[in-house]
């Protein structure tokens, strides 16, 4: 019996689940806001908040502890230099989960996981700018924005449900969504 065993399995094996969390944490640190299913958001929040607390410590050891979860050094740097200092005065509770209602395809309850100081107006501007710059800037200078976009794209490929701001998600999500739907449609028609 699984009495008193914390955590959800999310229908995945341990390694699959940990990989999912790593991808989502990277996206969260890059975009500062992700849209995912409610159970995933609930699983992710404590992990992410622990990372912020590590970020406040700022030691090399803390950096390595964060490295266990975030596979991207640039994002770790961002977490330590940008995100953690912003929350220096806050005694925990860095992230907010807002319920969005049920997803159309499978009825899964969706949620937004975002930093409590997330400012939609500010972020949307950055995301739009970053997108325009990202395509030609693969090997170009301007290290901050292209890096961010790269990480987001990486994560988008790995895990379609994740999706940061609506705007940033659109270009990647659009081609993926119809492709996904098509295989299921004929099946239904043929089956009935």
């Amino acid at each position: 019996m699984r009495h008193n065993v914390a955590g959800r399995k999310l229908g995945r094996t341990t390694s699959h689940r940990l990989a999912l969390f790593r991808n989502q944490l990277a996206s969260l640190m890059a975009a500062e806001r992700i849209v995912t299913t409610l159970p995933k958001a609930k699983e992710l929040r404590p992990i992410a908040e622990r990372l912020i607390t590590h970020g406040k410590a700022g030691t090399v050891h803390a950096r390595r502890m964060v490295g266990r979860w975030i596979p991207d050094r640039d994002l770790i740097k961002k977490l330590f230099d940008e995100i953690a200092p912003r929350h220096a005065e806050r005694p925990g509770g860095y992230l907010r989960i807002v319920k969005l209602g049920n997803r159309l395809g499978d009825g899964a309850e969706m949620a937004v996981l975002e930093f409590v100081d997330y400012d939609p107006a500010k972020k949307r501007g950055v995301a739009a700018k970053g997108e325009a710059a990202a395509k030609p800037a693969e090997g170009a200078p301007a290290p901050e924005k292209p890096k961010k976009e790269k990480a987001e794209r990486k994560a988008a490929e790995a895990k379609p449900e994740r999706a940061e701001t609506k705007k940033a998600a659109k270009p990647t999500a659009r081609p993926a969504a119809p492709a996904k739907k098509k295989p299921s449609m004929p099946k239904k028609i043929g089956g009935s």
Partner: protein, 61 residues
């Protein structure tokens, strides 16, 4: 293979179905746009939650 000996009466069938009723989903009214919305959820009509929480840009689907 075993088979039913007797057809179930309408009463029996209907009694079985007394527990099959669906419940009406709970709704509340969005304080921003006064449209009905699911409680504790972002309003799908105007995209707000708790005042400023603009989560999605309201667009006509």
């Amino acid at each position: 293979m075993p088979n039913p000996k007797r057809r179930h009466s309408k009463a029996r069938r209907d009694k079985r179905r007394t527990h099959d009723a669906l419940s009406v989903p709970a709704t509340s009214v969005c304080p921003a746009c006064h449209e009905p919305k699911a409680p504790h959820r972002v309003c799908p009509h105007c995209g707000t939650y708790r005042g400023r929480e603009v989560v999605e840009v309201a667009k006509t689907k």
